[in-house]
């Protein structure tokens, strides 16, 4: 059995989700040890259990050690079973992270799946809905499957209450994807989402976008959430290029000024624009897994995060692939995924 060290690299959660997805996909059982060792609260937390439960449901898997605070988890996957699934995730976790866990195996499952997910859709430390819908999903479509995402209601920390639906039409085998250039910028849009937050907060955020990035007023838009369930604010910058769409986010939080929120998003956008590569840091993280499942692919990106490198290590343990990361220039790296 595959034994994975859960204390390596940065993430307890990231390792767990990648391992769950790969195990379902490959049918290989695994044991994860030393989960979040050395942390203040070691072992599995609530949001991790939610991901385990979702994976077990979709993959008809048997799981041992799925208890709170457990530092060892063992999973014996069954058959990935497409269908209608509904998962409700509490404040403590992001609905998007559950999607990240169960989406890859469903891309090549034997039938159509409809997922209804409830909980947080725009949480810090998790990909926001708009990133998955606008940046990640179009690339997945280029690999074969059809995937439609619809946001019924955004959910912010801590009230949650968000809801989204994902419909997946799978393919037998994912096809290779190469993303080496992004091509010319076609459209830019800055959206300041507010939920029970004064409009001037959004206005100040957008003013920063105009000032720092030089975007026009027409490229900036305030969106007020209708029928809000809780407080929330997020600034989303979308840059559509010929090959790829970059989505950069600033999360509004208590005691954080509109200007700080805006800077988080504009700094990320600027770094990507300056590097001239198609794939940003977060997208690199997400693309490795489908490319490895496709058996090959490549992309140019910014400096890989330790998250990405840990992810690559886990993938190598499950799949017969090589993942090579090479620096091309001071700002650009090339990542190549190839069958062994």
């Amino acid at each position: 059995m595959l034994v994975i060290d859960g204390s390596q690299g940065e993430g307890g959660g990231q390792i767990l989700r990648t391992a769950l997805a790969l195990s379902l996909q490959t049918g290989k059982p695994f044991r994860l040890e030393q989960i979040r060792a050395g942390r203040q609260k070691p072992g599995l937390l609530r949001q991790h259990l939610t991901a385990v439960q979702a994976a077990a449901a979709v993959g008809r898997a048997e799981v041992a050690g799925a208890a709170l605070g457990s530092t060892t988890l063992e999973m014996h996957p069954g058959t990935v079973t497409p269908g209608d699934y509904h998962f409700a995730v509490g404040t403590a976790g992001s609905a998007m992270l559950v999607l990240q866990t169960i989406l890859p195996p469903l891309l090549t499952a034997s039938g159509v799946s409809t997922l209804t997910l409830e909980g947080g859709t725009h949480n810090p430390f998790a990909p926001p809905f708009d990133f998955v819908a606008d940046s990640f999903a179009p690339l997945i479509r280029r690999m074969g499957p059809s995937i439609e995402l619809e946001l019924h209601r955004p959910g912010f920390y801590p009230a949650g209450g968000g809801k989204l639906q994902v419909v997946i039409h799978p393919v037998g085998q994912l096809s290779r994807l190469d993303l080496l250039d992004r091509g010319p910028i076609q459209r830019r849009l800055a959206r300041a989402l507010i939920s029970i937050i004064p409009r001037q907060v959004a206005d100040r955020e957008l003013a920063c976008v105009q000032q720092h990035l030089g975007w026009s007023e027409e490229e900036c838009r305030v969106e007020s959430v209708t029928h809000p369930t809780g407080l929330g604010n997020v600034l989303l910058l979308k840059v559509e290029t010929e090959q790829v769409t970059g989505v950069f986010t600033g999360f509004g939080e208590r005691r954080r000024s509109a200007e700080q929120v805006a800077q988080e998003a504009t700094d990320a956008a600027m770094a990507w624009l300056r590097a001239g590569v198609p794939v940003d840091e977060h997208l690199a993280d997400q693309l490795l897994l489908p490319m490895a499942l496709a058996g090959g692919g490549s992309f140019r990106t910014v400096r890989p995060s330790s998250h990405t490198l840990t992810n690559a290590d886990i993938i190598r343990q499950f799949l017969p692939v090589d993942i090579r990361v090479e620096q091309e220039s001071p700002l650009a790296w090339q990542v190549v995924v190839a069958s062994r």
Binding site: K41, L45, R46, Q47, L49, Q53, A66, A67, L68, G69, A88, V89, G90, T91, A92, E118, G119, Y157, P158, A159, G160, G161, S195, I196, P228, T229, G230, L231, E253, R254, R255
Partner: protein, 533 residues
């Protein structure tokens, strides 16, 4: 999946948990926030609320549902009347605890004690401590301002576990301190005595009922009564003063008036009102030493004062009242006094709920040394210098003090006097061997006359004339007393003889027990009839 589920039980915080606008998500709301923690999955929340706060309860339930979809919120309407009233709150929560279908083998219960009035929180604690609520406690608080998020922090308190043990240890230490206080700080070693003091400490702290201290004169009854009072005072259990009276000093009319007071003109010499000692002890503690010496009239009045806290002062038409705790001391067996009609049986019954027998000093040889040091310290406090007792001298003195020859018939009074004498005689603050040996001789002689008292009494009055008795050695007195006792139990001289010489008569050729006895008695001028009385 985890086999055991966590169930929270808590009161709705009518203020802290309230809020219907979006702003509420910025705040720490104890009930909602407790369901937000990453490592605390809550299967069910039993939310207790009043009818008046139903709206808030429903909002809180919906918010929990949203932030923690795995949690089922059960709203339990429960009225408290006045939520600051201990009796009502305890009763209501006790009803809840009794009626709730706990399944401790399947579920872990946590009682949230952060919400509700302080009285409600205290009652929840008490119910958890007494295991009416088979639960651990959970306490929550908002996070530090720097940290983001309304989830706050929490801690779980298991009343069975270590922290609580440390608190319990603190109480034990306090009890030990109290026991040590009752012993005036003397490190006594006699296990029976130490056990006795622990019991007295417990009773002193937990009871206001009368206490009866039995024990020989000088065993420390009065001292102990005063320490009990001071202990109670340090715990704020008495507001009044300590009143002490020796009943042997109360005689006739003045006994009544001393205890129960009188009005002006009640008798000749009653020139003004006198409230009496019982009244003076109101709210405090009354120590009646040698209570067996109290007259029957006073006993009757005292009984009424104990039972009804009321009594009639001499010459008064109006009853006086006093709420005091009684400690009675006696050196005689009150049961005997009851049989001979000198003590009221009902008063004894009322007084001996807590009866403690204080042993004499001779029964506690291992405590003589610490008490010797205590007495030396006492002298030091009085004179400023502590008398020096060299090791050899000390050992020699203790050897005598612990031996059967040291009768300590007046107990601590003897020891106190003995140390005072030695300290006074020791020139330059050092107690020499000569001084110590002189003191031992003095003690021996002071005990000697008293020492034959029990044996003299055992020779029935009238059998021997006092002059003859005085001339006898103790050796003879003891023997004669036993012989007379046997004679009085026997029907004939021969029967008494058989009993008295039972071991040697078998070996004799001629069995002449009766003759031997007759000759023995004759030596004291006694015959069979005379010793039968």
């Amino acid at each position: 999946m985890p086999a055991r589920q966590t169930v929270l039980i808590g009161l709705l915080g009518s203020v802290l948990d309230s809020g219907f606008h979006g702003e509420r998500w910025n705040r720490w709301r104890p009930t909602v926030s407790l369901c937000m923690h990453k490592e605390l999955p809550v299967a069910r929340f039993e939310l207790i609320h009043s009818k008046a706060h139903e709206h808030t309860a429903r909002c809180v339930a919906a918010d929990i549902q949203r932030t923690s979809p795995g949690t089922t919120v059960v709203l339990r309407e429960q009225e408290f009347g006045n939520p600051w009233d201990f009796e009502e709150v305890y009763g209501s929560l006790h009803d809840f605890a009794r009626g709730y279908p706990f399944r401790p083998e399947e579920e872990d219960y946590l009682v949230h004690i952060t919400t509700g009035t302080h009285v409600q929180q205290i009652c929840l604690f008490l119910l958890a401590e007494s295991r009416h609520l088979p639960a651990r406690l959970v306490q929550s608080a908002p996070a530090e301002p720097k940290r983001r998020g309304p989830d706050g922090k929490y801690s779980i308190i298991d009343l069975d576990l270590s922290k609580y043990d440390r608190i319990a240890a603190r109480f034990q230490r306090e009890a030990r301190d109290a026991a040590s206080f009752l012993k005036s700080g003397i490190e006594t070693r006699n296990p029976r005595f130490n056990q006795l003091i622990e019991q007295i400490e417990h009773v002193a702290i937990h009871s206001r009922e009368p206490v009866l201290l039995m024990g020989p004169t000088g065993a420390g009854k009065s001292q102990l009564a005063r320490r009990i009072f001071e202990l109670k005072k340090s715990r704020h259990q008495v507001a009044g003063v300590f009143v002490e009276v020796n009943c042997a000093t109360l005689r006739g009319e003045s006994a009544m008036s001393t205890l129960f007071g009188h009005t002006k003109g009640a008798f000749t010499g009653a020139v003004k009102d006198r409230p009496g000692l019982l009244r003076a002890a109101d709210g405090g503690l009354l120590f009646l030493d040698e209570v067996g010496e109290l007259g029957l009239d006073e006993q009757a009045m005292l009984l009424r004062a104990l039972e009804e806290k009321r009594f009639l002062p001499l010459g008064s038409d109006r009853e006086s009242s006093s709420d005091f705790q009684l400690i009675a001391g006696t050196n005689r067996d009150l049961a005997v006094a009851v049989r001979s009609g000198r003590f009221r049986e009902d008063l004894l019954a009322r007084m001996n709920l807590w009866t403690f027998h204080l042993p004499g000093l001779a029964e506690r040889p291992e405590d003589i040394e610490p008490n010797l040091d205590y007495e030396l310290d006492r002298v030091a406090r009085g004179s400023g210098t502590r008398p020096v007792l060299g090791r050899d001298v000390r050992e020699e003195f203790l050897a005598f003090a612990r031996s059967p020859a040291a009768r300590w018939s007046a107990n601590f009074r003897d020891l106190n006097a003995c140390v005072t004498r030695m300290a006074t005689l020791s020139a330059g603050g050092r107690i020499t061997r000569e001084v110590m040996q002189g003191e031992i001789a003095r003690l021996r002689s002071s005990w000697a006359p008293a020492s034959d008292a029990p044996y003299r009494e055992s020779i029935p009055a009238g059998v021997l004339d006092p002059a003859t008795f005085q001339q006898l050695d103790l050796f003879d007195r003891v023997q004669l007393a036993a012989v007379i006792a046997v004679c009085r139990e026997s029907a004939t001289l021969s029967e008494a003889g058989r009993k008295l010489f039972s071991s040697t008569r078998e070996k004799r050729k001629v069995q002449n027990d009766a003759d031997r006895l007759r000759k023995y008695l004759a030596r004291f001028g006694l015959d069979w009839q005379g010793c039968k009385g």
